[in-house]
């Protein structure tokens, strides 16, 4: 059992692959959260605030914390003072994102982003493709278990989030969630938030059988997503399907689970991408063992 656990999480992987995913995730989250004006909650009436145990800092403090948080994400993205940057992003994000969720509705996709920042803070994601690595100089480090587990942990966060969402639908809605007119009514209901309006959701709601098929596909993708952790074939289908599903949520329901899309960078085989780019430009490969390790990593157990 212990051997299986070790082989699953701690296969050696390349520092460049982790570095590329780090940059994509941190800069992607920066783009997502840049327009978020969390500091504005400092001037909102307390009647909107629940739970009250989480204190709301004065607006000027929130503004400063938000600026530091965004700066930490940017530093994490370019890999400068990488571990300190991710530690700061995790701690500041922990407060700011919790605050954002304590006014009216929990923003579930923030949770996965926060966990990913915590994982990157504990990782050595700045060892390659970073300004830290440039400052240190020398050859990139060889593949190591250090560079594999963080991306697998982020994939685990995504897999558990999708699995939980699938289980919740079956637990609360049962098979009716798929087989009844539930999705149609939900699509119509979304257009009534605060006042009635027409949207794409209403167009989809005109086709009952299509709604049933979409509902079935949603639950199937969510429940099966964890298979992508083990099976390469499942990964090839489920990861793009989950992205399509997220696009569908945004188009027909409204909520944008953009951070889940950003975290999907943890599935991208960056080694392969970087190698093809190096081959195209005639650069020598940086790490001789990358191909073997990546094949092992991508192939699944």
């Amino acid at each position: 059992m212990r051997g299986l656990w070790e082989r699953f999480w701690f296969l050696p992987a390349s520092a460049r692959s982790l570095g590329a995913a780090r940059a994509a995730i941190a800069l992607g989250l920066l783009a997502v959260y840049l327009p978020n004006d969390i500091a504005a909650y400092g001037s909102v009436s307390p009647v909107f605030h629940e739970p009250r145990w989480l204190p709301v800092a004065p607006e000027s403090w929130l503004r400063a914390m938000n600026a530091l948080w965004l700066a930490a994400l940017a530093l994490g993205g370019v890999g400068l003072f990488t571990r300190a940057a991710f530690a700061a992003a995790f701690l500041l994000g922990g407060y700011l994102l919790a605050l954002d969720s304590s006014f009216g509705r929990i923003r579930h996709h923030d949770m996965a982003a926060l966990l990913a920042l915590g994982i990157l803070a504990a990782s050595r994601a700045g060892d390659a493709l970073s300004l830290d690595a440039l400052r240190r100089g020398g050859a990139p480090p060889p593949p190591d278990a250090e560079y594999g587990w963080p991306l697998r942990a982020i994939r685990l966060v995504l897999a558990l989030a999708f699995l939980a969402a699938g289980i919740a639908k079956l637990r609360h809605g049962g098979l009716d969630w798929i087989a009844s007119d539930n999705l149609q009514r939900r699509l119509l209901d979304r257009g009534r938030l605060l006042a009635p309006s027409k949207g794409l959701g209403e167009e989809l709601a005109r086709f009952p059988l299509l709604c049933n098929a979409v509902a079935a596909a949603t639950v199937a993708i969510e429940l099966l997503y964890p298979l992508a952790l083990w099976s390469r074939r499942a990964r090839v289908v489920l990861v793009p399907a989950s992205l399509l599903m997220l696009l569908g949520f945004a188009a027909f329901f409204g909520p944008r689970f953009t951070t889940f899309g950003v975290l999907t960078a943890a599935w991208v085989p960056f080694d392969r991408v970087l190698r093809s780019r190096a081959a195209a430009t005639g650069e020598p490969p940086h790490e001789k063992h990358d191909a073997r390790h990546e094949a092992h990593q991508q192939g699944g157990a």
Partner: protein, 145 residues
């Protein structure tokens, strides 16, 4: 990878597995872990929603849906907050939203009409009704001023 680093990584992986398992089994929000219950319940035949309406200077009532007007709130967020409020809190919410709407309008952050007052209604809908259909009932909960 050193033994100490491996312990740290194992600790994080186990914490993620246990935290998420606890949230799924208990069905409770355990920030930053969650049972992710979004849209999971089947809708009842009727559902209560809120309407925010502004009253223009000429007395006409208009629906307010612009998130730019009520920044930093999003529509779903406002619905969630209003659903938990009692009468005094709703009155205070109406006052705060009108002040926010007008301040942002004067600052050029949205192009809504000037408002004389803001009303919050509770509206009951038949969930299968198409958009454009009238609600089953509409009750004024708060108005400011």
């Amino acid at each position: 990878m050193t033994r100490r680093r491996r312990l740290l990584a194992n600790g994080i992986l186990v914490a993620i597995l246990l935290g998420q398992a606890a949230a799924i089994v208990s069905g409770r929000e355990l920030w930053p872990f969650s049972p992710y219950p979004m849209f999971s319940r089947s809708l009842a035949p009727t559902v209560e929603r809120f309407w925010l309406c502004g009253v223009r200077e000429d007395g006409a009532e208009i629906a307010l849906r612009s998130t730019a007007a009520f920044h930093p709130f999003r529509l779903a967020q406002l619905e969630g907050a209003l659903a938990r409020m009692d009468a005094p809190a709703l009155a205070e919410a109406a006052r705060d939203m009108l002040a926010r709407y007008e301040a942002r309008r004067l600052a050029g952050r949205h192009d809504g009409a000037p408002l004389r007052s803001l009303r919050i209604y509770r509206v009951v809908w038949r969930t299968a009704a198409p958009s454009g259909a009238e609600p089953l009932s509409r009750e004024l909960l708060a108005e400011s001023p």
